[in-house]
């Protein structure tokens, strides 16, 4: 039953794990360790001072805040898009399905420039919002738009296979038991897709935190208002303030890591709570099978 027994049915565990570790070391661990080593030249007090500077704090707020809002928007609308693509057959479905992947492929700078043009006060979409007194481009709202754009495919592509997996019988069963459409969605469908939705949300969120290319074209990049942390790091580098840039990067790394860890734990809980066997029952279950 247990997969961690010494004689695994699948051969090559040592080789593939070794490969995984080397690969991850070369690409992720060593660069990140270098970053931390560089910041080790600073004392914690120095790092604290740099990270809590007004400009740095404002940039953290913008980066994490806008990323969070964008990921939430993607979670909501991505669910609808995935639902439509899985559940209904309509003319042009394949085309729309392909369209979803576009933000993956498009150079982010192109996306940023396009969005900035469209959502500017003189742009095709922006002028309508301008009439209502809402400025999108060159404000934090513009950052949210750009981050929503680049995060969309993550949610849709994570949800699609899970939605396809839900048998129509489950919904029919709920209906014969007297559940309304809304009750069926809230009690049956949503809990089934929730772990996947959380995964998609996490992916979109992490992607948004690290995004640089598209944001700088639409953000306006005003310090304290619409400046994201990656941009602040770049501007520090341009002033040869390597230590300051490293300190900011390390702080961002730690915050991102803690947040992703928390979301991962939540996800693990969400997907495992209906599989876990209470310890006292484990033996009985083993016997019953």
């Amino acid at each position: 039953m247990s997969r961690s027994s010494s004689h695994s049915v699948l051969p090559g565990f040592g080789l593939s794990l070794g490969y995984t570790l080397v690969y991850l070391s070369l690409l992720v661990l060593i660069p990140l360790a270098g970053l931390l080593a560089k910041s080790a030249s600073l004392t914690l007090a120095d790092i604290w001072a740099i990270a809590t500077g007004p400009r740095a704090l404002a940039s953290f707020r913008v980066t994490f805040g806008a990323s969070f809002i964008a990921a939430c928007l993607n979670g909501f609308f991505g669910l609808i898009v995935a639902w439509v693509l899985v559940r209904y057959d309509f003319w042009g479905k394949r085309f729309i399905d392909a369209l979803v992947d576009l933000p993956f492929a498009l150079p982010t700078a192109v996306a940023g420039i396009t969005l900035a043009t469209l959502y500017a006060e003189t742009g095709v979409i922006g002028e309508w919002f301008a009439k209502a007194g809402i400025k999108i481009a060159y404000t934090p709202l513009g950052i949210v738009v750009a981050l929503t754009f680049i995060g969309l495919p993550f949610v849709v592509r994570t949800l699609q296979p899970v939605l396809e997996d839900i048998e129509p019988e489950v919904e029919e069963a709920a209906a014969t038991l007297g559940a309304s459409r809304w009750q069926t969605f809230r009690r049956v469908l949503f809990p089934a897709v929730f772990p996947a939705l959380l995964t998609g949300f996490t992916l979109a969120f992490s992607r948004a935190i690290g995004e640089y290319g598209s944001v700088i074209f639409i953000a306006g990049n005003m310090p304290l208002i619409s400046e994201i942390t990656p941009l602040l790091i770049i501007s520090k580098l341009e002033q040869y303030d390597f230590v300051g840039a490293t300190a900011l990067a390390s702080v961002m790394l730690v915050i991102s890591f803690v947040m992703l860890l928390a979301i991962n734990l939540l996800q693990w809980w969400a997907s495992n709570r209906h599989r876990s066997v209470p310890v006292k029952d484990a033996a009985a279950l083993g016997g019953a099978q």
Binding site: E172, A173, G178, A192, H274
Partner: protein, 362 residues
């Protein structure tokens, strides 16, 4: 509650799934819809449940019009072949679902829900599994939970779509006896769909044999087996030998084995087909009048019976003997023997569709 099905028709594109079906199911009966796959039995069940709408015709529940009622308003319990349990809910919550989604005014209190669910779980003898999740149960246990869930809303009609189809033989046999007992205790009308004739004959009060969107015969299990109304029913319920015959009286004075696959061809007015069950043929070592000469090809002892394959001219005939009879006869390959039918059923050749014969011939 009684169910009346009146002139129901349903097509999917050009395919006629149901062709003018009329059926009355009286209160308290356990009815089996039996037929080969694609005969429309599941479609009919889904129309009764309100998951599919008929193109024409009416469904009445207890005499009241129910044709256009939504599934959730019909008060039917439905059990699916593949259980359709809610995977993210515990067994307890699965069974409680129907009670929890009731409108606030009708919803029982938490303690009542608890009591009712535990009652149902002990009814299906699985109260010790209340905290488990469906993925931790065996197929038989899942299906019993699905049944408890369907019964929780106190349905007036219980509908089961191939409920034991995904289970192995032993569990299936246990569960169908158990379903029979449960049905007798609950006093509701039940309809179940199956393609397994043994299941239908064992469990049901009445069997509805369907083929190609039509009802071939409705009757008690004994009626449909021993007195099939049509050649299709004869062939679908158990094995049968088909003889293309020119009959004199009721015995096969001059019986010729059906020469070609397509029965009913090249027939003169007097042509007919004779159907004989393998266990209705006796094998004799000595010739007697009216018997048919044949040669033993194979002798297979299968459990309690011995199946003998014989060749009459170029055609195969299947006969089932008891073990005792085989002890007496001592049949062996290559022997010449004589066949004498105990019971023959004759249908005019014209009434037998060649296609149906080919599809379901043994």
């Amino acid at each position: 509650m009684s169910i009346d099905i009146r002139n129901i028709s349903k097509r999917f594109g050009n395919f006629v799934a149901l062709d003018n079906i009329n059926l009355d199911i009286p209160t308290g009966e356990l009815v089996a819809l039996l037929g080969p796959s694609g005969c429309g039995k599941t479609t009919l069940l889904r129309i009764i449940a309100g998951m599919e709408s008929a193109d024409e015709g009416q469904v009445l529940f207890g005499g009241a019009e129910a044709t256009h009622l939504h599934a959730r308003e019909r008060q039917v319990g439905f059990v699916f072949q593949h259980y359709a349990l809610f995977r993210h809910m515990s067994v307890f919550e699965n069974v409680a679902f129907g009670l929890r989604v009731k409108p606030r005014k009708e919803r029982p209190s938490e303690s009542e829900i608890r009591k009712r669910v535990m009652e149902l779980l002990s009814l299906v003898q699985l109260d010790w599994l209340a905290d488990r999740y469906p993925s931790q149960l065996s197929g038989g246990q899942r299906q019993r939970i699905a049944l408890a869930r369907a019964l929780a809303v106190e349905p007036k009609v219980l509908l089961l779509d191939e409920p034991f189809g995904a289970l192995d033989t032993k569990v299936r046999k246990e569960l169908r006896r158990w379903l029979r007992r449960l049905h007798d205790e609950m006093h509701i009308s039940s309809v179940f769909v199956t393609h397994d004739q043994e299941e239908a004959l064992e469990v049901a009060d009445r069997v509805v044999v369907m083929n190609k969107g039509r009802i071939e015969q409705v009757g008690s299990p004994d009626q449909v087996y021993s007195n099939p109304a049509t050649p299709f029913v004869y062939q679908f319920l158990g094995n049968v030998n088909v003889f293309h015959s020119r009959l004199q009286g009721n015995l096969w004075a001059e019986v010729a084995r059906r020469e070609d696959g397509a029965g009913g061809e090249g027939g003169g007015a007097g042509d007919s087909l004779a159907f004989v069950r393998p266990h209705d043929i006796d094998i004799l070592r000595e010739p007697v009048p009216d018997a048919l000469g044949a040669e033993v090809r194979y002798v297979h002892p299968i459990g309690p019976v011995v199946r003998v394959e014989l060749a009459h001219q170029s055609e195969l005939v299947e006969v089932e003997l008891t073990r005792e009879r085989q002890e007496e006869l001592q049949l062996a390959q290559g022997q010449s023997v004589w066949l004498k039918p105990r019971q023959v059923r004759v249908f005019p050749a014209g009434t037998v569709a060649g296609e149906a014969l080919q599809d379901f011939s043994i």
